[in-house]
């Protein structure tokens, strides 16, 4: 496994530490509601980070903390949002799965963001050529009809829409084999939409594969589906993991740690210390106030 830059590894481990901290806070009863961690999938948004530009829109989903952190590097605002404390990105109204900041937006209903992203992409194509709308979805999302309506429109209208599928093999508690007939690649083909498969963790290889495709999408607008074969390490939300012990859940970090122990230890310690500090700070803040009625 190739050595990562310190910056990339720091962002990956910031996301990891953040998610572990959330599970810890939940166990201690300090978080309200629910949350969905992206443990194991951190590298998806981190690999995309240098490929996306400021005018691009990002549509995230229920498992979106990594997407937010990769875009803004703002664990304070995100944790404050999840804890409903002062400094929350959305004043505590949206919580874990309804975030908006500038051109970043997440929604809590599966498949819902694809048509919206298509509309944004239409506007971008006309007014800001070269910019794109990137939508993160999971394998489970492909059960929703909205996905197909939006893909049809995006291809029909040649919209600059980057669909990032984080195929982790499990939709909440249901394995892919019980919820999807055929493949995502074949579904993409049915629309004539290009499909790119990513089945490695190596960031530089992922980026090298994606960069020309995304450049070309910007220059000659049309949708692109990028499917990451990935693994969700944690539960769907909090303590609801019913998968058998043999269920595949390869951890990129375990492999990386083994290959680069010193760098991993140093950066992980920094990330954990930072997140501990942020959690202490945010926990001590007053409650968020919402002034918009």
């Amino acid at each position: 496994m190739d050595r990562l830059s310190d910056d990339d590894l720091a962002l990956l481990l910031l996301i990891r530490s953040f998610e572990l901290k959330l599970l810890d806070l939940f166990e201690r009863g300090e978080l309200n509601g629910t949350t969905h961690t992206c443990l194991g999938q951190e590298y998806v948004p981190v690999s995309l980070r240098p490929l996306l530009r400021e005018p691009d829109w990002v549509f995230s989903n229920h498992r979106g903390h990594g997407h937010y952190l990769a875009r803004f590097g703002d664990p304070e605002g995100l944790l404050a949002e999840i804890m409903g404390r002062k400094g929350a990105v959305c004043e505590g109204v949206g919580g874990s799965q309804h975030l908006r900041r500038g051109r970043y937006l997440s929604t809590g209903v599966q498949g819902q963001s694809l048509p919206v992203a298509a509309g944004v992409a239409l506007r971008l194509k006309r007014d800001e050529p070269g910019a794109l709308a990137c939508v993160h979805i999971g394998d489970g999302t492909w059960g929703e009809g909205a996905v197909y309506e939006a893909l049809n429109l995006a291809q029909l209208w040649r919209l600059p829409l980057l669909v990032v599928v984080e195929h982790n093999g499990i939709a909440q508690s249901t394995p892919t084999a019980l919820q999807m007939a055929g493949t995502i690649e074949d579904r993409a083909r049915a629309f004539g939409i290009a499909h790119h498969h990513v089945d490695v963790f190596d960031l530089s290889r992922i980026r090298a594969g994606l960069a020309p495709l995304i450049d070309s999408l910007r220059a000659d607008p049309r949708p692109l589906i990028v499917e990451f074969a990935t693994h969700r390490l944690g539960p769907h939300s909090k303590g609801d993991d019913t998968r058998p012990s043999g269920f595949p859940r390869t951890d990129w970090y375990a492999a990386y740690q083994a290959a680069h122990p010193a760098q991993s230890a140093r950066i992980e310690a920094e990330a954990r210390a930072r997140v501990d500090e942020i959690a202490a700070d945010v926990s001590a803040r007053p409650a968020a106030t919402w002034t918009t009625a």
Partner: protein
């Protein structure tokens, strides 16, 4: 899905602003859309079968795609995505008008309306502008049957961040469109299909017996009192008790049926009433009307659609609370029958609200 024969009979051959009264309501709306697209280059119109020469199932978008080909877009049969994409345009700095071919099909866009467009206005903590109008041709009397004739307003009432408006022969469509977009939150615009071929009422006159004025966004129709005091339209709510046997409140689609009922009540039963037709159905603030309503011997709210959880029920509950102690009778509600809407004309007639239904309701209310 759409009827074989294009149902919007305003069609292309209808001269604008013909002799009797004003333009047809459908033409007024078409002209309003032309003007809006002309004046504001950020406005888009999305929907099924919008392109010329077809120009939409009811011809309301006729001519738009020829003049504004890059902003008037015909879509696949994907109501959820029409509304979703329109929301995206609105979020990204545009203004969007989505046409749902039949209001019944708004059900296919319910997630986008309930869980995204309306929620987006406030669920991100700060107010997010979503200038979006979803046009919904609604109502029956055209023989289109159970899934193409409904008035589904009640399913959209009480959703934070969502306003409901209804087209009427009194309200200038351009002004209503401008108002909806200026709200910068999603609006459903219900257009009773029977109105498309009816004429706009010219200022002041409604049929020969009645006069109408606007009090805020509510059209107030009353017995013509003769020459109005100059420059005082606000006086339209000062109806003398002798001309106030009842008040009927209806959405725009029922305006003609209510007027026919009023005419019969006057000529056959010597009962004079006032008709109120609000442009914005929800939220609806009756405060400016309370004096008038409090003096009325009977208030009747009539609407299409089956009873139960309706706009009329909401208005009635509100008026009971606000006018408790002043109301002389319970608010009388009129809805369609508890039934699907049949296709055959004689069966459909029995289910939908007719002028006779309103007339009987007022008489029963006053007798009860």
């Amino acid at each position: 899905m759409s009827p074989a024969e294009p149902p919007g009979r305003p069609g292309s051959g209808v001269p604008p602003g013909a002799a009797r009264g004003g333009d047809r309501v459908g033409e007024d709306l078409n002209r309003a859309l032309h003007g809006l697209l002309d004046d504001d280059s950020s406005v888009y119109v999305l929907g099924e079968d919008l392109l010329d020469p077809y120009g939409g199932a009811f011809k309301i978008t006729k001519g738009l795609s020829t003049r504004f080909p890059d902003r008037v877009l015909t879509t696949p049969l994907s109501e959820g995505t029409i509304v979703g994409a329109a929301s995206g345009l609105a979020l990204a700095g545009g203004k969007a008008i989505a046409e749902i071919m039949f209001a019944d099909f708004a059900a296919l866009a319910f997630d986008q309306i309930l869980n995204f467009a309306s929620k987006s206005v406030t669920m991100y903590g700060a107010r997010v502008p979503v200038p979006l109008v979803i046009r919904c041709p609604s109502g029956g009397h055209r023989g289109y049957g159970p899934t193409h004739s409904q008035s589904p307003q009640k399913h959209f009432i009480g959703i934070p961040g969502l306003s409901l408006f209804e087209m009427s022969p009194f309200h200038d469509n351009r002004a209503v469109l401008d108002r909806m977009l200026a709200l910068r939150e999603p609006c459903l615009f219900f257009e009773d299909k029977v109105l498309y071929t009816r004429r706009m009422y010219p200022p002041g006159v409604a049929e020969e017996l009645f006069r109408w004025d606007l009090a805020g966004d509510v059209a107030v129709v009353r017995l013509d009192p003769g020459p109005a005091p100059a420059g005082d339209p606000s006086g339209c709510l000062d109806v003398p008790s002798g001309d106030l046997d009842y008040v009927v409140i209806v959405p725009g689609g029922l305006a003609h049926r209510a007027l026919a009922a009023m005419r019969a009540l006057l000529l056959d039963h010597d009962l004079a009433g006032v008709l109120l037709v609000p442009s914005r159905l929800y939220p609806f603030d009756p405060a400016p009307l309370l004096d008038l309503l409090g003096r009325a011997p009977l208030i009747c709210v009539a609407e299409d659609g089956s009873a139960g959880g309706t706009w009329g029920g909401h208005v009635a509950a509100d008026l009971h609370t606000r006018l408790w102690g002043r109301l002389r009778r319970p608010v009388k509600l009129v809805s369609s029958a508890d039934s699907v809407i049949p296709t055959a004309a004689h069966l459909e007639r029995d289910v939908l609200v007719q002028d006779g239904t309103i007339r009987r309701a007022v008489r029963e209310g006053l007798d009860g």
